[in-house]
């Protein structure tokens, strides 16, 4: 029965995640742990599966919109994949109370970041690595093509490594860190950063999901409804997104995130 209830819950998680650009993990892990009492390690593993599904499913539409920078994605995947390996190894030595605290802290941080206004800034010159690998590109914005350059590549890679660690430990896409690396450090345009982040998330999640899968932490009873629900929910979210006032939903959700963050932290302190 609980397995059945997880299906509509995951549909809602996928729907919200896609509307808010957060990915379903931020919703699924707290629901599984706080409401259903599932051990956080099983929740994290099931969540990673759903991230692969949404990222792989959406990649085509972002590419068609000429927003994804494939070269930047593959270069930065070096950082996230090795970060995911580190995260997986760390997770084996972390107690579940530590995981709850880390998740709560991450939610708080995400809430703060969502509150901040994002500003598009551009790089004037390419970093030498960007020059060598031809990372600069162009994207369509309001009917015009706009050229952009890529700077601070090594620093971006470092932030991506951290993003990979968080992804593997907490079962999230860590889109927020990926945005910090691309739009914050490397000065890629916002739209390009967000499309490229989505494109990469599947590879990052797969690195640790594969390890969790072989260790037997991905339980079919949990992963099946979560993966199916998130696929359906994310698809629905993408359909209605253009018709909704996402800003209003974001504001409501920030409050919810803070409340959930406090509960996760309390749970971590109790254990």
């Amino acid at each position: 029965m609980q397995s059945l209830i997880m299906l509509p819950v995951s549909i809602i998680a996928g729907f919200l995640g896609s509307l808010l650009g957060l990915g379903g993990g931020v919703v699924i892990v707290p629901v599984l742990t706080l409401i259903f009492g599932v051990d956080i390690r099983y929740a994290v593993a099931a969540s990673l599966i759903s991230i692969i599904a949404t990222s792989s499913g959406a990649a085509a539409s972002f590419l068609r919109d000429h927003l994804t920078n494939v070269r930047v994605a593959i270069l930065l995947e070096i950082g996230t994949v090795f970060g995911a390996m580190t995260g997986f190894l760390l997770s084996t030595s972390l107690k579940s109370s530590g995981l709850f605290l880390a998740f709560g802290g991450f939610l708080m941080f995400s809430a703060v970041m969502m509150f901040r206004q994002k500003k598009d800034s551009r790089a004037e010159i390419n970093h030498p690595w960007a020059e060598r690998l031809g990372l600069q590109s162009r994207f369509p914005d309001e009917g015009k093509w706009i050229d952009y350059k890529v700077t601070n590549v090594p620093f971006g890679l470092l932030i991506m490594y951290l993003a990979g660690i968080f992804s593997a430990i907490l079962g999230i896409g860590s889109g927020i860190f990926k945005m910090m690396a691309m739009d914050g450090a490397m000065k890629l345009p916002l739209k390009v950063s967000s499309a490229t982040s989505n494109f990469m998330i599947g590879v990052t999640a797969s690195a640790s999901a594969g390890a969790y899968f072989l260790r037997g932490d991905i339980k079919p009873e949990i992963a099946a409804p979560v993966a199916l629900g998130i696929i359906v929910g994310a698809w629905m979210g993408a359909r209605v997104m253009p018709k909704l006032n996402a800003m209003a939903i974001r504001k409501v959700f920030i409050v919810v995130m803070v409340v959930v963050a406090i509960q996760m932290i309390m749970k971590g302190l109790q254990a």
């Binding site: 499913g57 593959i74 994949v81 190894l89 899968f213 072989l214 009873e221 099946a224």
Partner: protein, 121 residues
């Protein structure tokens, strides 16, 4: 759209098909596994290490074909990004972009290494 993006778009469409296929397999497995459903997540309240081979074996003994089918669907889903990286490497090689092909290979190697961490970790 340049050649690289055009080919990547093909790969991505192929991946979307992969998601649909694995999603269908998981749905079928989930449906078949209902009669084994214990109706609760209580068994997952505490973490017990139980590797994939033992899990497969146990489901085989219980004749829970549904769970085994779900595992198949999950394995396909997890392999999709690996396949994408592999196809991207071939694409870079075809376009004689050595540096990008090497970078892709490092990512692929990282993925494979990461998977092996799950064996008897």
């Amino acid at each position: 759209m340049n050649d690289l993006n055009r080919m990547e778009l093909k790969i991505s469409k192929f991946l979307r098909l992969g998601v649909i296929i694995s999603g269908s397999i998981i749905s079928i497995g989930w449906f078949l596994s209902f009669k084994f459903d214990q109706g609760t997540f209580v068994p997952f309240k505490t973490y017990r290490p139980f590797n994939i081979l033992d899990s497969l074996q146990m489901n085989f003994i219980l004749q829970n074909w549904g769970n085994l089918i779900i595992y198949l669907g999950l394995a396909i889903l997890i392999s999709l990004p690996v396949l994408r990286v592999f196809l991207s490497i071939l694409l870079f090689l075809k376009q004689k972009e050595r540096a990008m092909a090497i970078i892709g290979s490092v990512v692929l190697l990282g993925l494979i290494l990461s998977f092996t961490l799950g064996i008897e970790a």
